[in-house]
Amino acid sequence: MPSVIERPVAQSSGDWHREAADLIASYGHAIDDGELDLWPQFFTPNGIYHITTKENHEAGLPIGIMRCVGRGMMIDRVKAFRTANIFEPHAYNHIVGYPMMSYDETTGCVTARSNFQVIRIMETGRMDLYATGKYLDVIQKEGGSLKFRERIVVLDSRNVDVLLVVPL
C-alpha cells in the first residue's frame, strides 16, 4: 500500500473509502454491543476470518488461534459461544484506529489495515487491556454492501489472557 504522501489525494476520497471505514467501525460496535449473531454477516459467504499472532504471521505459519473459512464456521462459533462453551461472562470495547486503505479497480476490492486495542470488561467490573494488534482486511461489494472477504487479525502478543471465545 503506498504511503499517504505518495498517494494522489483524489484516490483517498470517494464513497468506497467512507463505506469501508463504516464497515470496519460497525464491526467493532456490533461485537462490543453483544450482537454476535451479526458477526458472520460482516463477511462474504466464503469469507475468511483468522486470528493469529505476529510471530506466526511473520514466520508464515498457518495455525494461529482461530480460523474460520466461510460463514458456516463462523455461525458454528457463535452457536458454540451461545450454547456449548463455558466461560466467565465478559464484554469487549474495541478502539480501532484510522484505517489506511487502497482500492483496486480491477478486482473491485479494498485492502485496509487498521490498528486496534480491545479492553475486556468482566462482570466483576474489572477492566483489562486484552488484545492489541492490526486488522488486515480485504473488503468487497456483496449484495449492495461492503463485506470482509478476508479479515486477518494479527495480535502483537503471543499470549492470550485466560481464553478467547468472542471474536476480535
Binding site: P62, I65, V162
Partner: protein
Amino acid sequence: MLTTPQPRSAPTTPAMDFKWPAEGIARAPYRLFTDPEIYKLEQERIFRGRAWNFLCLDVDIPKAGDYRTTTIGETPVIVTRDHDGKVHAMVNRCAHKGALVCLKKQDSVASLTCVYHAWNYGLDGQLKGVAFRNGLRGQGGMPTDFDVARHRLQPIRSESICGMIFGTFSEEVEDVETYLGPDMAQFMKRSLDRPLRVLGTHSQTIHNNWKLYAENLRDSYHATLLHTFYTTFKVNRLDMDGGIILSDGKWHHLSFARRARLQEAAEYSEAKVHSANYESALEGPELLHAWDEFDDGITHSIQTVFPNMCIQFTLNSLAIRFFAPKGVDKTELFWIYLGYDRDTEEQSQMRIMQSNLTGAAGLVSLEDGCINEFVQRGTRNDPECASFMEMGGRVAESEKNSRATETAVRGFWQGYRGIMGF
C-alpha cells in the same frame, strides 16, 4: 511454616508442617495450590530435582549457532546447537554477575555474549573470553590466577527423544526413555517419531497453580462434561471405546479413545448433562474433516509427561502443550501445533482446520483456560480443606476400559508425593 532453606538432599523428610490427609491420593489439600513455601520447594524438588522437563523441539534449533530460550520451572534456560550438531542446555545466567545472557526467544549466533560486561561463551556454555581481562594499559584486570576454563554457564543435562529436547538438573535421574517407561515411550514414538513440522504456536496465561492444569490434563472424567462441544458433535464421548494407561511411577499417563466404535450410552440421554442440548449438525462441517492416521484406531489421545507437558492428538490435530509456573497462582501454557514433514497439502489443511478444536480459543478446550482459575478462586481461602477424587476408586491403576475415572489424577498425586517427600 518453613523459615530456613531446607537441604536439597533430604526430599524424604517433610520440610514443613504439611501433612497429607489419611485418605491419601484421593485427596489434595487446597493448600498445595496457594502456599508460597510449597511452591518454592517444588522449584527445588521437582523442577530442579529428579524430573525431566520439556525444553523445546529439535526443529526449533536446526542449525549450528541456533539458540532457543525457555524455562525449567522459573529458572531461565538456553538451549543451543553447536557446530558438531550437539545440543547443549544451560542456565541463562552469566557466570559473572548473573544477568540474563540471551534475551530473545530464538536467534542464530556465533557465540553467546552477556550484554552487561561482554563475557563471551561458546555454544556449549564454556567461558571463552572476558573483556579487559588484562586490564587497560597495564592497570586493573583479573587476578593472575583467573582461569576462563573454570567458569561457564551452569550446564543442564539434556536429551533428545522423538524430536523433543528434555532437560534436567539432576545427575541421578535415569535417561528419558527409562523415565517414561516402556508403555509411555512406545506411544510417544507412535505419535512423534518422524520428522516434525511446526504449524503454529501461541500461549495462554491461566490464573491458577500449575498443578491444577497438570490435574486437568489427567482428568478424563471432566472431558465431555465441561467441554460440551465435543459431546454434542460426537467427537469424543466417554462411552467411546477407550481407557487410561499409567506409567509405572503413575505420574505420566496416556488417555486414549477410538471414535469409530461409538456406542450410545443411556447415561447421556438420562443424565440431562448440559452437553446434550446442542444441535449435532455443524454449519461448517469441514472443521472435522479427518483421516484415519494410525492402524490402532485411536483417534484421540492425551499423553502427559510429569511435570510439565503433554502430547495431544485430537483427530488429526497434533500438538505439544507445555506449561511454565509463573508464581503460585499463575501459569503460562504454551501450544505448539505440529504436522509431519511427509504430510500432503490436504492433510496439512485438515490439521489447520482441526486446530480450531484446541488452544486458547479451542472449541473443545477453551474452558480449561478458566476452569482451573475457578478452582483457584474457590479454594484459596480454605487451605485446610481438600478436593475429593474417588471416581473410579481410591488408588492409581491403569483402567483400560473406561475413562470415567480420576485414576490418572490420583497417579499425578502419587508421583508428586514421592518427589516432594510429602
